[in-house]
Subunit: 175 residues, 2 copies
């Protein structure tokens, strides 16, 4: 059975690195970067965290692409800041079009100190400073079942393979 | 009525510049870069010019995104090497889901000398040399109604506004 993996979490936790490497592990896969889908809108762009319409549109696009990829027999990896309410809508839309598919929802996590430490290691133009923490607080505020959280604070980057293995094999991430 | 513009043509004719500037002219618009959609496939990637399945998938994805953007009241600009057979399938898929929409198909063109001259102006890593001409020949081979061709050989880059105006206003590009 094909799977749709959503790799979520606040900015700076390693969504992109993890997602790309995960996509490379499958024989047939597709990698959807939510930010890229979001920024296809040019004229009249409103960020999805300020506009419900933008948010709905970006998830509709992600869902349709995912369905096409699964229909074309690929595992799908979605790299985006996704809250439980987003996954609920995605799941509904996907299951209305596909009978056989499993959704895996992982919210990568590192503690605040580690998030700020990693941010400081970036080149100046890419540093986000305190803005890193705003998304952490949003995840905490919106309530998230513990089982989807994956705290990687104490895992070094060399443990990426362990992280990938867990994402693929640990049943607690099955939505 | 919303419109879907497909800006096609061989590599090096100015598809990206033209498409991006066109997208910026509309109050509500979306810009779809075909190459980006194509490269979402990671594991098992086959280029669409070598695999019918890849070609069908990339156009299915482009069509679904276009429908969502039009439903969200945006004009859509597609930047991709698109042959008449691709447009036919896109048109079918789009019209089966949308009643009110107009498709505009423009194949930008410059003569071979100009194509090679522009290519030589690029930084070395981006130069394509004779490969520029391969796509020119493919367009010629596949047969293309004259009316969709837009020869911009004698237009300077400062004439971009004239090009954009023609794409928007000249009825010969309506598919």
């Amino acid at each position: 059975m094909r799977r749709i993996y959503i790799i979520s979490g606040p900015a700076g936790v390693g969504k992109s690195t993890t997602s790309k490497r995960l996509a490379e592990q499958f024989e047939h896969s597709a990698y959807i970067e939510g930010d890229v889908i979001n920024h296809m809108v040019v004229g009249g762009y409103l960020p999805p965290w300020e506009s419900e319409e933008s948010l709905a549109l970006v998830w509709e696009n992600i869902a349709d692409l995912s369905v096409n990829f699964v229909n074309s027999d690929k595992d799908v990896i979605i790299d985006y800041v996704a809250f439980p309410s987003d996954i609920e809508k995605l799941s509904e839309k996907v299951h209305s079009q596909l009978k056989q598919v499993e959704i895996i929802y992982v919210v990568l996590w590192v503690d605040r100190t580690e998030l700020l430490r990693r941010d400081a290691l970036r080149i100046k133009e890419h540093q986000m400073g305190d803005r890193c923490l705003a998304l952490v607080e949003e995840f905490e505020r919106k309530g998230l079942s513990e089982r989807f959280l994956y705290d990687t604070t104490n895992l070094k980057e060399t443990n990426l393979n362990e992280i990938l293995w867990n994402i693929r094999e640990n049943s607690r991430f099955v939505y």
